[in-house]
Symmetry: C2
Subunit: 140 residues, 2 copies
């Protein structure tokens, strides 16, 4: 059994958090699952010649880790309708990312929440900044 | 050795494709990597009571599979600056998704490509519709 969340459970400014150290295995498993084996993610030799100098995590993997904070806040209950995100700095293997999601707008008519989604690294640098739109079904 | 792509290699209308049958293991591994274990993804008993009736894949996992087409088109060379996406229909375990990315705008000044990113299921239903902004470094 679990408590299903309703849109009436939320108010502007509600927040949730999640953090994780991003490992090589995270990136390699993610690459295999998605099929996205771009060399800046999985080829250290190639990465040396890029401005990043080392392999970096997929931006959408970092977004997925951010979604973990989203899930802590709105699930079970809501599903995601839309995401919009900007990748502002690279995440290296071994970096620790801190995701924070915050309710910015509540539309009771449409039963949607608009959330700001921010991920910072261990030095406080914002690596991802975006928004997510969450929708709640009609209460049973 | 590999050929590094430059923005001058692209023209409006260039396309790339990737398809994959989404498995339970994809969703479960992705859930473990990201930490996003929302019950509509990993709890079949809970999912029965939702409007989806069954567990569904994470929207951002489908976006990651779409990125595989993006990588085929622009890597090695470009990195993603931004994504914007709408999740229009659920993807069930066993569904086959077909991703298509297409160059819509080219900004030679900023060395960016704007791409339309669409993912359809095996019945042709659009499950994800969005855009991605890709940036190329200065030519060496």
């Amino acid at each position: 059994m679990m408590k299903i969340k309703q849109i009436t459970d939320f108010k502007i400014g509600d927040k949730e958090f999640f953090s994780k150290t991003v490992s090589e295995s995270d990136v390699y498993l993610y690459a295999g699952i998605t099929g996205d084996l771009a060399p800046h993610h999985v080829n250290a030799d190639y990465a040396k010649g890029t401005r990043f100098k080392e392999r970096i995590a997929h931006g959408l993997l970092i977004a997925g880790i951010m979604s973990s904070a989203l899930t802590k806040l709105v699930a079970p209950g809501a599903v995601t309708l839309a995401h919009e995100m900007h990748f502002l700095a690279p995440v290296y293997f071994g970096d620790t990312v801190y995701a924070e999601v915050e309710v910015k707008e509540i539309d009771m008519e449409k039963r949607t929440l608009l959330l700001r989604t921010i991920v910072r690294n261990q030095r406080g640098v914002v690596v991802l900044d975006g928004t997510a739109l969450e929708k709640f079904p009609k209460a049973a």
